[in-house]
Symmetry: C2
Subunit: 423 residues, 2 copies
């Protein structure tokens, strides 16, 4: 009945902050019975804080070394990362990876590779770093029991939003500060435009609902178009604006999923997730509402998640993708409604005919806004993807067909026409 | 390399709300490949929502059935629970238990039984129900990296404290409300006096630091002596009072651990853990600060944790007690200082000579209070264990010797003598 724990002999790709962090930590934790045999790096001539004999620039030295039974992949280049992971799995080496972009973009192939080779591929660090969200989704929630998952999954944007809300900075200044503090890349597009967040959501969807969706097929945006007028509106209503990745099971069994800015109430745990922290709320039939928060990025939080994957490999833990394997017909849908705030520079820009219902509108020197209900499929068109439009969801934004309030009268249209004239 | 997942054939002890919840959930999740073969109950004549053939009152039928490879123990009686678990482990059956009291009081024997039989004994549901704190402590943090753990681990007292803080109820009325809402037992002593919380802390200490301490050897109290004057004081300072179980690694490597009421700032995650929810903050060198919250009690949250243990048993997961096995000299200490508020009915009751330093004192018609620094060992004496004294820690209450502010002058003693005269 007893399982002898496996000794892990590691081939490590990448020796940046996370790789070096991992190297140090493994030296401090002999109880894990894991050691790094070789590290593959790109630039041989860089000075490293480890013996020179540890390093090579030849990937094959790691991938074909029969002693090495685990490949840990911590490099920046998603294409190179995929080739490494594919080769390693085909060589029956267990793999631990932190490359969310690579994983999200290659999920179908990676699932097939795991199946063909019956070899573990773990990537806890790819979502929210130190927060054990993937493992918990795998172990705790069965498909029919998981109601929703909502998360702040990108630390850079959360840091920027905190600076805007707490310190009154403009987006540009807040971004600059985030870059100076090391919380945003010099090319911040991946973070700021919500691409990093949607990559993570794509991974979470597979473990939460057994849905495999390419990130480009999930509607997403970031915080790049938020204006000062939006922060003012949020403050007046005692909301915070957060960039939320979410998925929710609808009444008909389909899944609503997207990454959009959202107003968050102070009674929502995510309201209190600030600066570079990440947070995830999982709602299920059994456990009810669970909340996890922690540092979502950085060398040591990421290394800590890699470490937990290594620990799991010792007893040959694999993701089972139970929900994917049992999934007959769960899929993403855009047939639902959202409660939304949209702001524009000028009244004439407002496509008010798109709204099912308008509950509130504002217009002043900073621009104008409409709060109301939209069919989600409206977001497939590009009317909101421009500099002068920003979009923020209300709390509990997702409405089933049955929850849709009755259509309002033409009162709004009349007011609108008058307002437009004045404007 | 592949492990065939074990089919779990379960013998279940207890068919209360959690047991019945588990029975229902297992029927809904065939993917787990686990089924309940027999349920042992105490009262044969009670009406049950399951086929009569499932039940027996004869424990031996389960414990000696060779088909049954897992015993799930969900009964109230700690002594009976221990006998069941001991027999099951000796019969090489894996065991899942939710009995925190039984586990905390029998840790040394239970550790030995697991070792002797090399058989898994899992009890995630015993601490904070749906929050996966034990598994995370086992998997994520190595001894030298874990700085502290702080938790609201008892839902009844947290519900009562929320009613006092949010609705201005007295302790007695809040307790009554908690009992009516099903959040407190008719005999609430286990919860209210901090016994349930210290049982959980005892279990957490083993997984966090490899320390085995009987709950009676860990200083603890509950919320039974808190007065309205304490709530008023907290409100004035914008604190909330929470019952916190905590452990912290001191500079000298020893562990400070106790369960006491504490003032919590709004920037502490635990401030936002209200009503029947539980929350745990884990601080470590790697992952930094991680926070988990969720329902800490109730049938489904508990069943969800039991389910995750069953899921882990399929790949023969065992707690490794790594920190215990590697622990050479980590032990509990009372040689440290705490920043504390103590209130009394009358000034003459204040043992001000016990304080290292007094920073603030109040006296009015509701009583009087002293805020200052105490050596923790002072709490081993009984001066504070009475109806007219209540004690609440300040935020960041634990001070190492090196953090102790310089001794104050005699100024306070002089004021005190005058005040006493007036009083």
């Amino acid at each position: 009945m007893s399982i002898q724990h496996k000794k892990l002999t590691i081939g490590l790709f990448g020796f940046g902050v996370v790789g070096e962090g991992l190297y140090k930590v493994l030296q401090q934790t002999p109880s894990l019975n894991a050691s790094i045999k070789k590290v593959c790096i790109k630039h041989a001539d860089k000075k490293r804080n480890a013996p020179a004999t540890l390093f090579t620039t030849n990937a094959t030295e790691l991938l074909q070394d029969e002693d090495i039974n685990v490949i840990v992949e911590l490099i920046d280049d998603a294409d190179a990362a995929f080739i490494i992971v594919r080769t390693a799995l085909n060589n029956k080496k267990s793999v631990v990876s932190a490359s969310k972009k690579m994983i999200a973009e290659h999920l179908p192939e990676l699932l097939q590779l795991q199946k063909d080779n019956d070899t573990p591929f773990l990537y806890e660090s790819a979502c929210c770093a130190s927060i054990p969200v993937i493992r918990n989704l795998e172990e705790y929630y069965d498909n029919d029991l998981l109601q929703s998952i909502q998360g702040i999954v990108n630390g850079s944007t959360n840091y920027i939003l905190s600076r805007i809300a707490d310190d009154g900075l403009s987006f540009t200044n807040a971004l600059k500060l985030a870059q100076d503090a090391g919380f945003a890349e010099s090319n911040p597009t991946l973070d700021v435009a919500g691409i990093d967040a949607v990559n993570k959501l794509s991974i979470l969807l597979t473990h939460a609902y057994g849905v495999v969706a390419h990130p480009t097929n999930i509607i997403h945006t970031g915080i790049q178009n938020l204006k000062t007028r939006d922060s003012i509106f949020a403050e007046e209503k005692k909301f915070k604006i957060k960039l939320i990745a979410q998925a929710k099971k609808l009444e008909n069994g389909s899944i609503a999923a997207f990454v959009l800015p959202q107003f968050v109430n102070s009674d929502n745990n995510l309201h209190h997730v600030n600066n570079e922290y990440n947070g995830v709320i999982i709602e299920s039939g059994l456990a009810d509402k669970q909340f996890f928060s922690g540092k979502g990025a950085g060398s040591f939080p990421t290394a800590s998640a890699v470490l937990s994957d290594l620990s799991a490999l010792r007893y040959e833990y694999k993701y089972e993708y139970k929900k994917l394997n049992n999934n007959r017909d769960t899929e993403l849908t855009d047939d639902f409604y959202i409660k939304v705030y949209v702001s524009f520079d000028r009244l004439l820009q407002v496509p008010h005919h798109l709204f099912e219902r308008v509950d509130e509108w504002t217009s002043n020197k900073n621009g104008c806004s409409v709060s109301g209900i939209l069919h989600f499929s409206r977001l497939k068109d590009n009317w909101w993807r421009n500099d002068y439009t920003s979009i923020v969801l209300y709390p509990d934004a997702i409405l089933n067909e049955s929850e849709l309030p009755a259509k309002s009268s033409n009162e709004f249209a009349a007011i609108w026409d008058n307002a437009t004239v004045v404007n």
